[in-house]
């Protein structure tokens, strides 16, 4: 049970003078119950990677497999089924709203996957509950909600399809501090339910503090992979232009340089513990 990329590459505008290599030799594995971050700055190929996950784009080289079944071998029907199992939340997902009520918006995906009408209310209620959105507001217009609530409804509209994996492209951009924290707590609860999460972001701080494993992309190539601590060790040795360490991680690096033997971390409490011991 996993989604597996092996040596995947992808180009835009293939065969024209505008050809641009977006990804080169990317390998990664996403397991159920794992929260994995893909970190890189603008133009590193992150969004392309997201769209490859559920076959909106097909790789030009290499293989992508889910449960050892290659995407390239799937026919139209199977690809549709795949998309129901690998949910994809685009950047600014609230821009895809079209329905008159929250309920209708959320039942869009399950209806498309052929869920019988009598089961739709249960799906909607469950999805709303998962994202912590008040049930009594489900007859509101999705356009009349606050930014954070819109984002939650948008994510619920993908969760209502009951995917096994969730791929999110920059899910925290445009949210205020509170909305961002609530969203991250939501992702954590989804992981505890056994969902595999691929979290695409430019925010190294979020990735280091919340995710299990991190893949760093730079200009379409994977330059580092591992646990947050391993990534910190790597970035300390080989800094990447455009990827600045968050202040706490920076502090731990400076302390290390001053000769203290603490583990690199992005958690201020770990640093405090180090001093109290």
């Amino acid at each position: 049970m996993s989604i597996e990329f092996s040596q995947v590459s992808f180009s835009y505008h293939k065969g024209t003078p505008l050809e641009k290599k977006a990804l080169r030799d990317i390998s990664l594995t996403l397991l159920p119950g794992e929260w994995k971050a893909v970190v890189g700055h603008t133009g590193s190929g992150k969004s392309t990677l997201a769209q490859l996950c559920n076959a909106l784009l097909l790789p030009e080289g290499g293989r992508i497999e889910k449960d050892s079944r290659s995407y390239a071998a799937m026919d139209k029907k199977e690809l549709r089924f795949l998309r129901s199992q690998v949910g994809l939340v685009f950047q600014y997902p609230e821009q895809q709203f079209f329905a008159e009520t929250v309920e209708e918006e959320i039942s869009f995906a399950p209806k498309n996957w052929g869920v019988p009408p009598e089961e739709l209310p249960r799906r909607v209620a469950e999805a709303l509950e998962m994202v912590g959105f008040p049930q009594e507001l489900s007859s509101r217009s999705p356009f009349a909600l606050s930014g954070g609530q819109k984002r939650r409804v948008a994510i619920a509209s993908v969760l209502a399809g009951e995917p096994e994996y969730l791929v999110l492209d920059e899910p925290t951009t445009g949210l205020d501090a509170r909305g961002k924290r609530e969203l991250l707590l939501l992702l954590e609860s989804l992981r505890h339910r056994g969902m595999g999460i691929l979290h695409i972001t430019h925010d190294l701080d979020v990735a280091l503090s919340w995710c299990d494993r991190i893949l760093v992309l730079h200009e379409g190539e994977s330059v580092a992979r591992g646990t947050p601590r391993e990534i910190l060790e790597h970035l300390r040795e080989h800094p990447i232009r455009g990827l600045v360490l968050p202040p706490v991680a920076e502090l731990s690096c400076i302390l290390r340089e001053r000769g203290l033997s603490l583990l690199l971390t992005n958690d201020i409490r770990e640093i405090l513990d180090f001093f109290t011991e």
């Binding site: 784009l57 685009f90 498309n112 356009f143």
Partner: protein, 269 residues
Amino acid sequence: MKFLNHLTLGQYIPLDSFVHHLDPRCKILGVLFFMTGAFLVQDPRFFLFWGGILMVCAFLSKLSLGILLRGARPILILVLFTVVLHLFFSDGTPLWSWGIFRITREGIVGAARMGIRLLLLVIFAGYLTLTTSPMELADGMESLFSPFRKFGFPAHEMAMMMTIALRFIPTLLDETDRIMKAQLARGADLEGGGIFRRLRAFIPVLVPLFLIVFQRAEDLAIAMDARCYTGGKGRTRMHPLNWHMRDSGALLFSFLVLLFSLSAERVVF
């Protein structure tokens, strides 16, 4: 799966050629002459002459004939439809018939005439946009229409709207692509089914797209307001249009082609 990648209508190919350096006003008028001439052709055989003109046009602009012809691809279905209608449903001397269908001599001539006419119209229109950048085109239109300002015609505003519209086509295509993908990811079926089902299936694409368009329009209006845009009155331009001798020459040439086409056909055939 890039859905809207193949739109060639209205594309500009920047090259360093005689035609590219002509004044946009000259090109707009010249192309209008050509289109009038091509549209008034009666005998299909006379299209050979227009084929020759097309080759001269291609040569002078350094564009390959293939690129010019490709511009007609989007309306190929319309042309085919017209040709079929003319072919099977014209009155005249019957050559072949089956049920209500019959092919007449007049039908064949009419089909060829209408088909080639339509193709030529679109190819010449495409020739204009292939050799003239959208900005030049808008400037040229504004200048050509400015005499009508006396009668209250908003020449500058029209040109500004045209520029903005052209500028936003690629942006909107990108947005459409993104929204379509977002809805596909939620299981929307945008491909199968009959025409009404497909139209209905596009509601989840069209509603968000309209919202984004309105939002962008409002942002742009505010940005223009913030820079004190008040319309065309007293506005100077960064690249004023300059009419040269070669423009007069090219315009005269296209006018002569039109005259020749109108008169010669009756003499030759």
